[in-house]
């Protein structure tokens, strides 16, 4: 298995869903691969943090009112390890993802059109929002994603307009999907299908950002 395949199996590994051979292969790979070891540590950290989350989460920021309606009704933040904890983590990353994508789009438009960026860009994520992230222990994840978006922003002049369009369109498509799934989870916080869909969408968005950042220069 390569690094991509290994990281995709982390959740199954941590849930004990891999067979012995796969488990050994994954352990051997992680032992010899610092990048995957770091990723594994991050996944463990997120899951542990999610497991220790408070019993309710009621963000009061109108910035994410659309998501809030779904997230705050989920009752997903429970003090035990398991799918609810995973959902809590997933819900948190939806918020992170949506906001940073909006953040990036704003910055992107600012560069291209040389107009004043939207308010969210000027102010960044609100203190309330950041405090919520801090409370959730996802500040590292926010930093990671912001780092990726900044890296892409810095490389914009090296990529063609066509490529940037493709990247942005697809980032937004995933963002839309994540919002839709998060809202659906608001109605059904125990729905495993939705949890899986959300996790998949989140992973794809991060994959896309990582790929965009390391793409070879075009211009």
């Amino acid at each position: 298995m390569n690094c991509h395949e290994i990281t995709e199996r982390f959740d199954d590994y941590l849930d004990g869903r891999l067979d012995t051979a796969e488990e050994e292969e994954l352990q051997a790979h992680v032992t010899g691969c610092s990048s995957c070891a770091e990723e594994m540590a991050s996944v463990r950290e997120l899951r542990n943090l999610a497991a220790a989350l408070p019993s309710s989460l009621e963000p009061s920021r109108d910035l994410w009112s659309g998501i809030e309606a779904g997230i705050s009704e989920t009752n997903v933040v429970r003090g035990r390890f398991g799918r609810n904890a995973f959902l809590a983590a997933a819900a948190a990353v939806v918020i992170v993802s949506s906001v940073v994508t909006a953040y990036f789009v704003g910055r992107s438009q600012a560069v291209v059109a040389t107009v004043e960026p939207p308010a969210i860009v000027e102010s960044g994520p609100s203190e309330v929002l950041l405090a919520s992230f801090e409370g959730l222990g996802v500040d590292n994840y926010m930093a990671t994603r912001t780092e990726l978006l900044d890296a892409l922003e810095a490389r914009k002049h090296e990529l063609s307009a066509e490529t940037m369009d493709v990247v942005m369109e697809n980032l937004l498509l995933i963002d839309y999907a994540m919002d839709s799934i998060a809202k659906a989870l608001g109605d059904e916080p125990e729905n495993e299908f939705l949890m899986k869909q959300l996790a998949g969408a989140y992973r794809r968005q991060i994959d896309l950002l990582q790929r965009a950042v390391r793409m070879p220069a075009e211009v």
């Binding site: 991509h4 490529t163 799934i181 299908f193 794809r204």
Partner: protein, 297 residues
């Protein structure tokens, strides 16, 4: 006479100012390398055709186009690098392309990087690592391992080896025959696998369509995921396998199993789990809003 000399000087100065102008420069060079040595090729634009031969020698023939200063070849028995060096001050039009034919030992480990140059590889049985931004990549051989990445260039692979990793952002990916473990990622481009066997496969896109006609290995697993693209998976009617089809808001068209069920009364999501016998490969098809089509041959 003085005026003529002055004009010549002015003309030369002008040429120097706009950059060196090169007509097509023929090139023919060779360099010894071991049978399994690494050959590293770096070209910006034009075409790069790589062919295998039986000699322990790397041979480069063809033409160097406009703006090229020269060809740099160096290395040792373990590896040779070939670098087309460009004049950074050249801003003229590319009237003449750089077109190279490079012969390498059949077992060479090949690494090629281009910007817009197309890459074509034939007959090489060693490992291939090919990267292009907008150039098309065409592999007419079955290498030991394969790693191809483009941004907008199309990718065509005749026969993918047991260890294949292929990705593009908006280019079309077309694989004649899968050969074991294969990992394909695309963002908006179409992906097509026309045949072969997949023991362990991951095919992913964001908005690109994915079509797979390969046969899943006996105990293999195949995961195909997309956000908004259409997944079309063609299988033999008698295939024994377990299937897991899910979509958040797309449709499921299934010719071999039961009807899909709604995943929730709140969302249009559908899911379908079924087996066509005991054992067999595990097949998972998942989309957000894209259609899923499970079609029999």
């Amino acid at each position: 006479m003085k005026r003529t000399a002055k004009n010549i000087v002015v003309a030369l100065a002008f040429l120097m100012a706009v950059g060196t102008v090169w007509a097509a420069q023929p090139v023919s060079e060779s360099f010894p390398v071991g049978p399994g040595g690494e050959v590293d090729i770096d070209v910006l634009s034009g075409t790069v055709v790589i062919e295998a031969w039986s000699q322990n020698l790397v041979e480069v023939t063809g033409t160097l186009g406009d703006g090229v200063e020269g060809l740099d070849i160096d290395g040792d028995e373990d590896g040779v690098y070939i670098d087309v060096e460009y004049d950074e001050d050249y801003h003229g039009k590319q009237q003449v392309d750089t077109d190279l034919t490079i012969r390498v030992p059949a077992g060479a480990f090949l690494t090629v990087e281009t910007v817009s140059a197309s890459i074509s590889v034939a007959g090489v049985s060693g490992e291939l690592d090919l990267e292009s931004v907008s150039g098309n990549v065409d592999v007419v051989t079955k290498p030991a391992a394969l790693d191809i990445e483009t941004v907008s260039g199309d990718i065509a692979v005749e026969s993918a080896p047991a260890d294949s990793d292929v990705s593009s952002v908006s280019g079309k990916i077309e694989i004649g025959a899968a050969g074991g473990s294969i990992d394909v990622e695309n963002v908006s481009g179409k992906t097509m696998i026309h045949g072969g066997v997949i023991d362990d496969g991951d095919l992913e896109s964001v908005s690109g369509d994915i079509t797979c006609h390969a046969i899943p290995g006996a105990d293999g697993s195949l995961d195909i995921e997309t956000m908004s693209g259409t997944i079309t998976f063609l299988i033999d009617a008698g295939l024994v396998a377990s299937f897991d089809l899910t979509t958040f808001s797309g449709s499921i068209q299934n010719q071999i199993g039961p009807e899909p069920k709604r995943t929730s009364k709140y969302t249009p999501g559908k899911e379908l789990y079924f087996n066509t016998g005991n054992g067999g490969p595990s097949i998972s098809l998942e989309s957000f809003s894209g259609s899923i089509k499970l079609i029999t041959r």
